[in-house]
Amino acid sequence: MTPHSTFHELVQRYLEGQISHDEMDRLNNLLRHDPVMRERFIESMNLESGLSDLIAGTDFSRRNAPDHRSRRKARAFAPWFIAVSLFLVFAIGGIFWRQIPSGIYAVVKSATGVNEMTNLTHINGDWHEIVAGTLELVTDRGAHVVIEAPARFRFESAQRLRLVTGRLAADVPPSAKKFTVVTPTGEVVDLGTKFGVDVSQNGESEVHVFQGEVIAQPSKGGTRQNLYDGDAFLLRAGAGETRELRSAAFIRPDEVAALHAALKAGQPSRSGTALEKLRTDPDLIALLDFESEENNPGVYNLVQGRWPGSRAPEFMNVGDHMKLNVGEGREWPQLTLAAWVRLDRFGEPYQSLLHTNGWKSPEILGQVHWMVTNNRTMRFALFGNQIAPGQTGDHIYSDSATPISQEAHRWVHLATVYDSDQKIARFYLDGKLNNEARQEIAYPARLGPAQIGNWNNHDRKLSGRIDELILLGRTMSDEEIRALYDAGNPYR
C-alpha cells in the first residue's frame, strides 16, 4: 500500500467516524507536516459539504431529472432557522432568539385552550401531552406545526416530530424541507408542503397533502408513496392504502390566530350564554351541542368542536351518521335550522346536515332534507314543496344564492328559516341573509327519526364535523340569526 492511498484511507475512516486513536494521530501528523495532504484533506471535506448541500436541495421526486441547474444552491437557504427564529420570536413577543438554548427544537407560538403550555414555551425533546385545545409551534427551521388535542408527541430533533396520537397540520417552508413526522405506523417526509397527519387512538395514521408533495413511508418495509396535492394515504405497518382527502380534519396554521383571538375575546362563554337562553325558548325542538355524556347512536368519531376541549361528531365515510329523533308527531309550519359545520371537501355526494327518514313513509309531505349540494349551495328540501318560478334551486327545492364558502375546512355557520304560511325559505351564511326563496307550494315541515351525515339510503355523507345543531319550531329574525352567529363564532 502506498503512503498516498494510506492517507486517503485515513480520511475515509475519519469521515466514517471509524478512525482509531493511532490512525487519528497519524492523520494529524500527515496534515501537520504536509501542505499537499492538507489541501487534499480540505478538498475531501469540501466534497462532503458539496454533496450534503446538493442532496439537501434535491427533490426526491425529480432526483433523476437531467436538468441540475434549476436546483442550484437550494441548500443555501437551509439554516434560515436563524432568521426564522429571530423574526418569529420578534413577532410573537420580543424575546430574543439568542435566549433559545440549544436542545430546544420549537417554540409555542400560540397555545389556544391548552392548559399544559403557554405562548413562547420552549419545546425540547421531552414527551408532551395535551388534552384540550390547539397548539401552534414553530420549529427552529421555521416549519409551522399545529397540533390539535388530544395529542401526545415529542420532537426527536427540530426536523423530526414523533406523533403517537393526535392531529397535526404542518406548513413547511424550504428552510425546513424534509421535516419528518414519525407515527406508530410509518413516516411522513415533507418535500416542501402543507400537509396533515392524523394518528387515531388505535395508532393508525393518515397523511393528507393540502399542497406540494410528501413521501409516506409505512413502517416494516411497506412501499414508499409519493403523495401530491389532494392525496391522502393510510399508513399501516408494512402497507398502506389510498384515502379520501379530509382537509377539515386539520386546523391549519392560517386558522390559529383567529381561533386564538376568539378564545381570548371570551367567545366560548358568550356562546354558552346564548345557548342557555335558547334552551329556555318554548319553541325549541332540539339543541345538540354534543357535550353530553349520552351520545346519540350512529357511526361517527367524537373530536374537538369549535372550542378547546369541546366535542363534535366527525363523519368520514359514506354512510357514517348520527341518529336522532326529535319533533315527531306534529307538523311544524315554521322551522329554523342552524348549525356550525366544517366540511372536508365539496362535490358528490350531497352533504347531509339533517335528513329525516320518512321521505318514503306514508306521512311523506313535508319531510325535511337539509344539505349542502355538489354545487356547494345550502339546500332546504321539503317533500312536496315546489319553488316559485325564477327562484334559485333545482326547479323543485330552494337553495342558497351562492356557495356556502369558497374553501372548505373552516367552520361556517349555516341557517335556514322556513315559513310555510308565508311560503318562504330564507338562507343565511355566517349570519348574513343570503337568499329568500319563495315557494309555489309549501307544506308544514315534518320531523321525526332522522340522521345527520347520511340519509338512510346510504347515498349521502357529511365529510367533516358539525357542531351546535339547532332545530327551532318558529322563525328566527335576521337579527336573531346574526346574534346566534356572532355568539358562536370561533374566529375573531
Binding site: 489541501e39 466534497l47 450534503s52
Partner: protein
C-alpha cells in the same frame, strides 16, 4: 426593540444568509461530521450576531465570520469528550488558514460537483442521495443496496474519488479555456 436594532438585525440576516453555505463548508472542514458542523454553526451564528456591532460595514463579512468560526470550533473541540477523535488544535489552525486561502477554488469545486453528480449513473445517484440524507443510517442504506456495510463504505470511497476526479478535471478544463 428599537428600529435601529431591527435594521441592524435585518442587515445581519442578509449577510449571514448570503454567506451561510460558505461558512458552513468552512466549519465542516474542521469537524468530523456534518451534524457537528450544524451544531457549531448554530453557535457561530449566535456569536456573529452578538458581536455584529463590532463588524465594520465596509469589512468582509465572510473573513470576519471565518475568524469567529475557527475559535468556536476550537472551543467546541475542547468541550468534546476525550474519546471523540478530532483534528488537533494546531492542525485546525492550519486547515482554517488553508481553507481561507483556497476559498474561491473550494467554492467553484462545490459548484462543479453539481455537474459531476449528474454524470453519475441513476442507480449510483440514488444510493448517494440515500447515503447523504440528513438522518440516513448507513447500515440501512447498505442493506437496501444489497451490499455489506464494509462493501458499501468501499463503494462510497470509490464514488467520492470518482466525483473528486471529475471536479478536478472540470476545473482544469475551465483553467485551460
Amino acid at each position: 426593540m428599537s428600529v435601529e436594532t431591527m435594521n441592524r438585525h435585518e442587515q445581519f440576516l442578509r449577510l449571514f444568509m448570503a454567506n451561510e453555505t460558505t461558512i458552513r463548508a468552512f466549519v465542516r472542514n474542521l469537524v468530523p461530521s456534518r451534524a457537528d458542523a450544524d451544531d457549531v454553526l448554530q453557535e457561530v451564528a449566535i456569536v456573529l450576531w452578538n458581536k455584529f456591532d463590532e463588524f465594520r460595514f465596509d469589512g468582509d463579512f465572510r473573513i470576519w465570520a471565518y475568524g469567529i468560526a475557527k475559535f468556536k470550533v476550537l472551543s467546541w473541540i475542547r468541550d468534546q469528550k476525550r474519546d471523540r477523535l478530532m483534528l488537533a488544535n494546531d492542525v485546525v489552525e492550519m486547515i482554517a488558514t488553508d481553507s481561507h486561502r483556497m476559498d474561491n477554488r473550494l467554492q467553484r469545486q462545490r459548484e462543479l460537483l453539481e455537474f459531476c453528480f449528474h454524470k453519475v449513473s441513476p442507480r449510483d445517484r440514488e444510493l448517494l442521495l440515500q447515503a447523504y440524507q440528513p438522518h440516513s443510517i448507513i447500515q440501512d442504506v447498505a442493506l437496501s443496496s444489497g451490499r455489506t456495510v464494509a462493501g458499501f463504505y468501499q463503494w462510497l470511497y470509490r464514488m467520492r474519488q470518482l466525483l473528486q476526479e471529475c471536479v478536478h478535471r472540470e476545473l482544469a478544463r475551465e483553467a485551460s479555456l
